[in-house]
Symmetry: C2
Subunit: 466 residues, 2 copies
């Protein structure tokens, strides 16, 4: 109830502020007083770059390569080439590997006006904001509003720390939750299959205070041993399989959990209830789709943990780039214009359609299976929603297809090896959040391979598949 009241107050204040802003802009525009001056050249330059035609299979960027002093080159979607990306490359493998969230790119192109950002040359040159912190108060308050509106996390009475994506915050949290100078370092664990960065990042720092110790399920029986400290990464929804998870070591007296909530958005998952864990990590990477901006945040219950994470952020990078923060603020303003209805409708529709098509394609296959996901009630949309995961967690079912990655590779599909996620090599993660071009090609090739189920291994030839 309190939450709803908060939302209503916000909506009223948003409406009020929108009216005021409108008034402000009408003054600028209708009055015709405002003549653009210093921003005009940059605006024309950006529009000229945006207008470069890349045939709908790519786009040019302001900081793209400039050859011979000309305009930036087109950067094409996978399997498209040529100066204007009009050339389809039939021998090219379908890219279902990386987690680039290009499925949301059309949304932002459709919202070009509201999402454009003009940065003055002297914007935020100093180290800190006016409150001497490295955290934009405006952005923080927009994040709190966002969670109220979406209903995916409790923020009341919690602290917020910013990071360069969720990536930087993962280790900041591990570091903050570890005992300092303890003779028994914390054991960092995650239930398999798990996001591989937990291991590689934890090992990178070679800390005296924590070590990566693999699969959380192996430690369930150690919960009686009070001398052991655990830090469990819980990814919910899980990467790679989209399952909503709870901590495995929940009952252990010295186990702390870091909830990685990167995918807990209505695009990818029903939102049964606001997440309410001690340490929750979010990012815009999969929410607005701006992975390149490197902006994430942690919601923290305990003040001491918040302070340790803030120290970590200060000493690691002096906080998050003020340019990333400015960009994130602009994007959140656009999302909140209609209480996040449009972006999640847009994103959910794409993700659900992709999952439906994929499921249908493989429904009669005996060779490949997908993870099982059930429809579930979503409090954000106030209805039962069909599954819409970010990734397919594909299993090669045939006895001889032990190396599923190679099976797909031979069929012209690049996935991500299950072994990286701590799973058997029979599994491969297929990314469903890339561009429509990537998904279409993936589906085309999966349709072909599953239609050829009588064929023998090794019979697929990438050159012949297009």
């Amino acid at each position: 109830m309190a939450n709803k009241a908060h939302v209503s107050v916000y909506v009223a204040s948003l409406a009020c502020s929108t009216v005021l802003n409108l008034f402000f802009f009408i003054n600028l525009y209708v009055g015709g007083d405002w003549k653009l001056s210093w921003s005009k050249k940059a605006a024309a330059e950006a529009e000229a770059v945006a207008a470069i035609s890349c045939s709908g299979h790519g786009r040019a960027y302001l900081d793209g390569l400039v050859l011979n002093g000309k305009e930036p080159i087109c950067e094409c979607n996978s399997c498209y080439g040529g100066p204007d990306c009009s050339l389809f490359l039939p021998a090219c493998p379908a890219n279902a590997d990386g987690g680039d969230p290009f499925f949301l790119e059309p949304f932002w192109m459709q919202h070009a006006t509201s999402s454009a950002l003009v940065v003055a040359g002297w914007h935020r040159m100093g180290y800190s904001y006016s409150d001497y912190s490295f955290i934009s108060q405006e952005l923080e308050s927009h994040i709190r509003t966002l969670h109220s509106v979406v209903g995916n996390a409790v923020t009341a009475g919690r602290y917020i720390v910013f990071g360069a994506g969720s990536t930087q915050l993962l280790n900041a949290a591990v570091s903050a939750l570890s005992p300092d100078n303890s003779s028994s370092p914390a054991r960092v664990v995650a239930l398999f299959p798990y996001y591989p960065v937990y291991k590689t990042q934890t090992e990178l720092f070679q800390s005296k205070n924590y070590t990566f110790e693999g699969d959380a399920s192996l430690w369930e029986n150690s919960t009686g041993n009070a001398t052991m400290n655990f830090i469990e990464f819980v990814t919910s929804p899980n990467n790679p399989d989209g399952q909503l998870r709870k901590a495995v070591l929940h009952g252990h007296p010295n186990a702390k959990a870091i909830y990685d909530r990167a995918y807990y958005w209505p695009h990818f998952s029903p939102i049964p209830t606001p997440a309410d864990e001690d340490v929750m990590i979010f990012t815009i990477s999969k929410f607005t789709g701006h992975a390149g901006a490197r902006f994430g945040w942690a919601i923290i219950k305990d003040e001491a943990v918040y302070e340790r994470m803030t120290t970590y952020m200060s000493l690691n990078t002096f906080g998050v780039s003020r340019d990333s923060q400015l960009r994130a603020l602009k994007l959140l303003k656009v999302v909140l214009e209609d209480e996040a209805r449009e972006i999640f409708e847009f994103g959910y529709k794409i993700m659900r359609d992709r999952w439906e098509k994929l499921s249908k394609t493989l429904s009669t296959s005996k060779r490949f299976s997908l993870q099982k996901l059930a429809p579930q009630f979503c409090s954000f949309s106030q209805k039962v929603k069909a599954p819409s995961p970010a990734y397919a967690w594909l299993k090669c079912e045939r006895e001889e297809d032990r190396d599923c990655y190679s099976v797909l590779e031979a069929a012209g599909i690049t996935g991500r090896e299950g072994g990286l996620f701590g799973a058997e090599h029979r599994y491969v993660r297929l990314s469903l959040i890339r561009s429509q071009d990537d998904f279409d090609l993936l589906l085309h090739r999966l349709t072909k391979i599953s239609g050829e189920e009588g064929a023998k291994p090794g019979q697929f030839n990438v050159i012949n598949i297009s």
Copy 2:
């Protein structure tokens, strides 16, 4: 010679590209074909914010606090207040503490048109650039050109890694230079007085592979011991005292050096020769003055070190925000328009004038002394240059003034305690790179205190000094 030839080729190609760009823009403007569309609203918004009057003692930012749905509030220079920053606060201490490089803010305001940046909502949503790296090739090539033009570092045949300011790169370098899983961790040292982040950051990570071991000069006699590994931070020019330094442990067989070149720019230092060390770290923070953008780079000779640093950057943050990189590129383009002449003339003039005024003020003082800096030939300006350091390293000379920070505090000046830099408490660092308001107030109060040298300690009263 090869370097000069390189510069000439660059200048020719810059001229050529400028002509082409000019042609491009004349097409847009003079032809009158280009009508701004999607960027217009954002441009008007940014110009409206920039036009908010803060009385020359502050500025409003696009992401500043918005009260009652109105325009963002003015953020005032230290010791100014009121809604439009017109109110001088006489009881306020002069801020000579932080390293915010606001002395360059007027330069960017004067170059509003060329330094404005328009970011489309769909700019660089993915994780990587077109070459699958986290590093903008355009930006990298501008950095190489910059060093050729300024003559402050050798980049030919070297690798470049980007970081969030120099801050992130400091630990990336320590981590990359440390032995992996060695029974004898590397000893991280720096000659005192030194930049305190070397200690606090190195200790933050609690690594098995390295420990902070204090003053480099204490280890000079250990150079015979081949079982000891050293990593020496060498800040040149040094923070706090502006001296050009060389590694103290140069002769040690297992000593590696990280050269922190944050201040090796013609604003602050003569450039006798291009720096040519194995690991050199630069940042835009003190060069263009955009500390808030968090963008720096390391120039690396050894491929294995480069690869370890790249891995570090990937696992720590997935590289540097693409928004920071875009901003840095825009700023470098402006700097390179005239081969960096204007920005360094602008910056040097301010820094030299401030040092001259400060030196003159304290020239007859028996109570305070400054570090000694001599004029030196600068290859960039092709002349002998008077000193222009970023900081004054002030010493309280009186026997009883052991706590120099408190002496200054009582006189209405906030410096940074010498103890933080590993020096005696008789020293205080005074920042000379802040806004003109900050410097003027600092000078005013130093003039007053040094004019009152007969006064007894404790006699200065901040309330009476304005």
